[in-house]
């Protein structure tokens, strides 16, 4: 079984990265951070593209820090698929095994098997130019897995895809990763949703250091550093997916959400409306809450809420962005009671990686 334990220090000009990571076999660690946080430096140091000042990288019990790039057994799925344009889809997937000396027949049957896993078996004979971006990204995943990596690096794998194919590829990657419990994975992303759907643990990277880490659900729903809160940004309620949403909440089910499975309802703070009295007309997603405190959020004010006596528990920690005028209308002090309404069309229910 392959476990990654890395202790890295990289100096690039003014920028300094100093990170310790541990990822178990079968585990997915999401590394979240804004541009310039050191995400690509971290990946470069792991793959061997960059020369770190200090590097101890143990993968599956072997120290790989001194090994050449192609001997590290690290697979990469980047923003772009980067398939070899002169090879068929099948030959692309068979490339790694062939480079490692596997006989052609065996490599091709392995490639067929992996293409089946990523639902791309039908493209086997085509050239990369003849398939779509989402399809190419699935093929690239199969190619990365074909080399039997002990560590899989997913570098913003959905950012170059269009809004329709990104969720489908995300769901597929989640499924395929679950089928490969021998592989440790690191997902680098700036989108908390990717982390929520795919990751077991989240590490928040800022200024070259990990400022927060823990189980995905905890970090994203109750970020303990302001920075993590800023990246998470969204309201997040976890529970069980129902026909109409999540537990008592009404919302839109994402394509890959399964009824009865674990899920997370996600909505922006700006989708939450706050009222002094219980509003009429909109029967769904109207709940009482208690105001915890008020903070500035650009031109808006952000209300931090907590559960009120007798109200639903999921309100705890919720954020609502309203205009200063609306706050004045509420005429409320922290500890006061108010009513919240969230339109069902603003809530998206995503599947969540089953707790391990």
């Amino acid at each position: 079984m392959s476990e990654l334990a890395a202790d890295l220090a990289v100096q690039r000009g003014e920028f300094h990265l100093d990170v310790r990571l541990r990822v178990a076999a079968g585990e997915v660690l999401a590394v979240l951070g804004p541009n310039g946080a050191g995400k690509s430096t971290l990946l470069g140091a792991l793959t061997g593209q960059l020369r770190p000042q200090r590097a101890a990288i143990s993968l599956g019990g072997t120290d790989i820090a001194e090994l050449a790039m192609h001997r590290r057994r690290i697979g990469v799925l980047g923003q772009e698929p980067l398939l070899f344009p002169h090879l068929s889809v099948l030959a692309n997937v068979a490339f790694g095994p062939r480079a490692a000396g596997m006989p052609r027949g065996k490599a091709h049957s392995l490639a067929h098997e992996l293409l089946g896993e990523v639902d791309a078996g039908e493209f086997a004979a085509r050239k990369p130019a003849a398939i779509s971006g989402g399809q190419a990204q699935r093929v690239a995943l199969a190619r990365a897995l074909a080399a039997r990596p002990e560590l899989l690096l997913l570098d913003e794998p959905f950012s170059a895809l269009d809004v329709d194919s990104a969720p489908r590829v995300r769901a597929l990657i989640g499924r395929v990763l679950a089928e490969h419990p021998e592989t440790a994975s690191i997902l680098v992303t700036h989108d908390p949703l990717d982390a929520l759907v795919l990751a077991d643990r989240v590490a928040v990277l800022d200024g070259g250091r990990i400022v927060e880490q823990g189980p995905a659900r905890e970090v994203l729903s109750a970020p303990s550093t302001p920075f993590a809160a800023r990246i998470a940004g969204l309201n997040l309620v976890t529970g069980t997916v129902t026909e109409h949403g999540l537990d008592g909440l009404s919302g839109i089910l994402a394509a890959e959400a399964r009824i009865g499975a674990a899920g997370a309802a996600v909505f922006a703070p700006s989708a939450v409306a706050a009222f002094r009295e219980r509003p009429d007309g909109s029967p769904r997603n109207v709940v009482p809450a208690e105001l915890a405190h008020v903070e500035r959020a650009g031109d808006l004010v952000r209300l931090r809420l907590r559960a009120s006596d007798g109200g639903p528990g999921w309100v705890d920690g919720l954020r609502a962005d309203i205009t200063p005028a609306a706050l004045a209308d509420l005429d409320l002090q922290p500890g006061g009671l108010l009513w919240l309404a969230v339109k069902a069309t603003e809530i998206v229910v995503h599947p969540q990686r089953a707790a391990r």
Binding site: T47, Q49, A68, M69, H70, R71, R72, R73, I74, G75, V76, G78, E80, P81, L82, L83, F84, P85, H86, F95, G96, A99, A100, P128, A129, A136, R143, A144, A146, A147
Partner: protein, 269 residues
């Protein structure tokens, strides 16, 4: 002025220019099929007599064979050197890049007589004249600029992230070059090779200097044959030379176009 008239003048001018460029290289072809043993134009009649004689004549056939051998060997020398130099020029990090590039291009700028004389004087010093291998080696120097020009053009549009993709799939740097870079730039390499073959095949000056009197190649044999007398086989040799060169040129142009298309596809990905 009337734009119609202007366009007509343009067309006529372009046609005249094209004729001036093409006709001298094509005028020898009817002469090769002439019945006359003098270089008469237009030819008085049609026959393949001198064509048959050319291919029956041991001296001419040997000269043709020599030219083909020299062209092949010279390309086998210039191609690997040119490809390696192109890789270094595109990927390498050196202060001397510009200097090396200019030096590699030098044989294109220097008058061929000067270059041939220089090569002759050096080889004479080492008792290497009269040697076809040396002709091939000197031709290789002439060919390297063409290989470097076509291959660097292809490498400049090559997406080197593909090399990294191959490396993380477990390919060593040589395997990555052989199985990813080379197949993608293959049309450009092929075009470089064809232009090289062409350069060597119709080159007379260097071949004359280095092995002219003992082992003449086809162009040298032609030159020798018209210096002292009028030989009806010369137009045949010229036709063979022209046709081979044109075929190589056409193939090279097609490969260059194909190469552009391939790198386009790659950029779209």
């Amino acid at each position: 002025m009337d734009s119609k008239l202007l366009r007509a003048i343009n067309t006529v001018y372009a046609c005249l220019l094209a004729l001036f460029l093409i006709v001298p290289s094509l005028v020898v072809i009817p002469l090769a099929f002439s019945t006359s043993q003098f270089l008469e134009f237009p030819p008085p009649g049609f026959s393949t007599r001198y064509f048959q004689e050319f291919f029956a004549d041991m001296q001419w056939r040997t000269a043709l064979q020599r030219s083909l051998n020299v062209a092949l060997v010279s390309v086998l020398i210039s191609l690997p050197i040119g490809v390696a130099a192109s890789w270094w020029l595109v990927r390498g990090r050196s202060r001397f890049k510009n200097l090396v590039e200019s030096t590699l291009m030098l044989p294109m700028m220097i008058p061929i007589v000067v270059f041939g004389l220089g090569a002759y004087l050096i080889l004479l010093r080492f008792h290497l004249v009269g040697n076809l291998w040396m002709v091939a080696a000197t031709h290789a120097v002439l060919e390297i600029p063409f290989v470097v020009l076509t291959v660097t053009a292809a490498l400049q549009t090559f997406d080197f992230r593909l090399v990294r993709a191959a490396r993380v799939c477990g390919a060593g740097s040589f395997t990555a070059f052989r199985s990813v870079v080379l197949p993608i730039i293959a049309p450009a390499v092929g075009a470089g090779a064809l232009i090289g073959l062409m350069t060597s095949f119709d080159e007379a000056v260097i071949a004359l200097f280095i092995a002219g009197d003992t082992l003449p190649t086809l162009p040298v044999q032609m030159f020798n044959s018209i210096t002292y007398d009028v030989n009806p086989l010369v137009p045949v040799a010229a036709t063979v030379l022209t046709v081979v060169t044109l075929v190589l040129l056409l193939a090279a142009l097609l490969l260059v176009r194909w190469s552009r298309k391939r790198t386009d596809i790659q950029i779209r990905l």
